[in-house]
């Protein structure tokens, strides 16, 4: 990838990739690292980016791979330390404060935050699937490629995730 191509990619997909990194890691510092590593990895990988296909899927699959590896190594090094996600404080406070009083009317902005908090609490496999589908607008076939799982598994994960989210967000979204 040339410098110019990289610039184009950052311009075009930067926001999508960064948002994915942020929700995947739940931690702004980790998100910065992952975002940076993703693009830098893409630079040295030999594969040519096919503009006809979906380069976004390609970047997302790199990000996912790096993150999994990193989590693994991190677990090894900090064997005993529980490294905890730093949930965006705005979201977390908002989420908790609102949980206490579900009867109160909530604005659309607050609703979004509750949804994001609920998504962040999903088990990682489900969370990734939800992010790829709803945030990154990938088709189930593309998700199957990015996550290297069969389409059937993608569908069942989406189904499970929706079930959990529906239950958690029942009160919020029923209005």
């Amino acid at each position: 990838m040339t410098k110019h191509e990289l610039e184009l990619c950052i311009d075009k997909y930067g926001k999508d990739i960064y948002s994915f990194c942020k929700h995947l890691t739940n931690n702004p510092l980790e998100a910065d690292d992952l975002y940076q590593d993703t693009f830098l990895r893409a630079v040295v990988l030999k594969e040519k980016i096919e503009y006809g296909n979906n380069p976004k899927s390609y970047f997302l699959s790199i990000a996912l791979r790096i993150w999994r590896n990193k989590k693994r190594k991190f677990a090894w090094r900090k064997r005993i330390a529980d490294v905890q996600p730093i949930v965006d404080e705005r979201d977390a406070e908002m989420g908790e404060a609102l949980e206490l009083s579900p009867e109160e009317r909530i604005t659309s902005k607050e609703k979004d935050m509750l949804v994001r908090t609920a998504v962040s609490r999903l088990p990682e496999k489900l969370k990734i699937t939800v992010l790829l589908f709803y945030m990154e607008d990938l088709s189930t076939a593309q998700i199957s490629e990015v996550m290297k799982i069969p389409v059937g598994t993608v569908l069942s994960r989406l189904y499970q995730a929706r079930k959990i989210l529906k239950k958690e967000l029942e009160d919020v979204l029923s209005e």
């Binding site: 990838m1 410098k3 990289l6 950052i10 930067g14 926001k15 999508d16 960064y18 948002s19 994915f20 942020k22 929700h23 998100a31 910065d32 975002y35 940076q36 693009f39 830098l40 990895r41 630079v43 040295v44 990988l45 791979r65 590896n69 989590k71 693994r72 677990a75 090894w76 090094r77 900090k78 064997r79 005993i80 330390a81 529980d82 490294v83 905890q84 996600p85 730093i86 949930v87 977390a92 908790e96 949980e99 609703k111 979004d112 949804v115 994001r116 998504v119 609490r121 088990p123 990682e124 939800v130 992010l131 709803y134 945030m135 990154e136 929706r162 989210l165 529906k166 967000l169 979204l173």
Partner: protein, 409 residues
Amino acid sequence: MNDKFDNALRHALTPSDEADLWLNQKILNQAEEKRKMAERKNWRLTAAIAAGLVLCISSVTVYAAWKYLPASDVAANVQDRKLAEAFAGEQAFVINEVQSYGDYRVTLLSIISGRMLSEYPHYHNGEIAADRTYVVIAIENGNGVPMPDTSDESYGKLEFFASPLIGDFNPAFYNIAGMSGNYTDMTEEGILYRLLECSNVEIFADHDLYLCVSEGMFYDSEAYCYDELTGKISRNENYEGMNALFELPMDIAKADPQKAAEYMAGLGFESDILREKLDAELGEAFEVEVTEENKMGAEAAEYALQFVGNPYVWGEDSLTEGTDSSGFTKSVYAHFDISLPHSSSGQRASGMKVETIENAEPGDLVFYETPAHVAIYIGDGLIVHAMPEMGICISEADFDEIAEIRRVV
């Protein structure tokens, strides 16, 4: 309803976060450097192939040492020129010993110990740890199938544990994970090279020193035997997977028993944890004490106890499939409709403070620091918690210094 639900999700998850401008700028700058490095790497690769070809013609020996990159090249390949020079120098022990067990063939290439050998100093608790041991090993598939490149998806599925072990010290507790260890992997020509480093082990030269290489992420007590009486470490001959064990050559003159004792005493978090207090058992008469005030807490403690024996998995929160410490407390309390954040620091902000362990009631959360850890008090000075390597287990509450106690019910 479904459309509405989907739309709400889409709306909430619309990509809205952007990287800082400086971050994008940094990426563009670093990309230039990466490209230059990649070019150099390619050149090196071709040179290595050429060298391999020449030798192939003249020799049929399979296990010959020339097959492997010398340790200095491995260090150079991970961009550590200073370490590469050290490995090429006289201080390094070149070993080239091969062992085949299970599905893999492992070769111990070289080892070197000393001060300030690397371009990349290792930081421990914010200070430079200058005195280090570096080891290079090569791992191959026994069936000749090339090992995956470290950037391949399948590399993520490979897990090897390689660590120096010290005779007279139980390897389950004293291994690379506790000795401010670290490693870098690289693959070339289908051979996986690992450069591992940890605190200098030369000070233990008057003990037997070993290097173990096994599968998995952590030390596997099944793969090796430790004789408490003689202090000897050996391979478990009945173990089916890979369990290579090399003896490390050491200059006995470098032994420094006093420094060694100090090192062991100060072994970071390992030393703070009183291992003998970690594995506690409940007496037959044990019952979680229930009083009017702590009914819910006692129920939570009782409920938590049924999961003892289930595994520890970092980042997860399943009481049956695997959980980390704060996932454990979160999930236990979720059963009682009490919602705790997954982070132990977040949990530490929940509920109200209990002054001392003497005042603790069953169900209280007990917090520890460095590493951050949380447990559920069950009474009688005991806790139940999810502990790495042990899974969900019962321990004495003072197995490590208690940082804080909180009551969340």
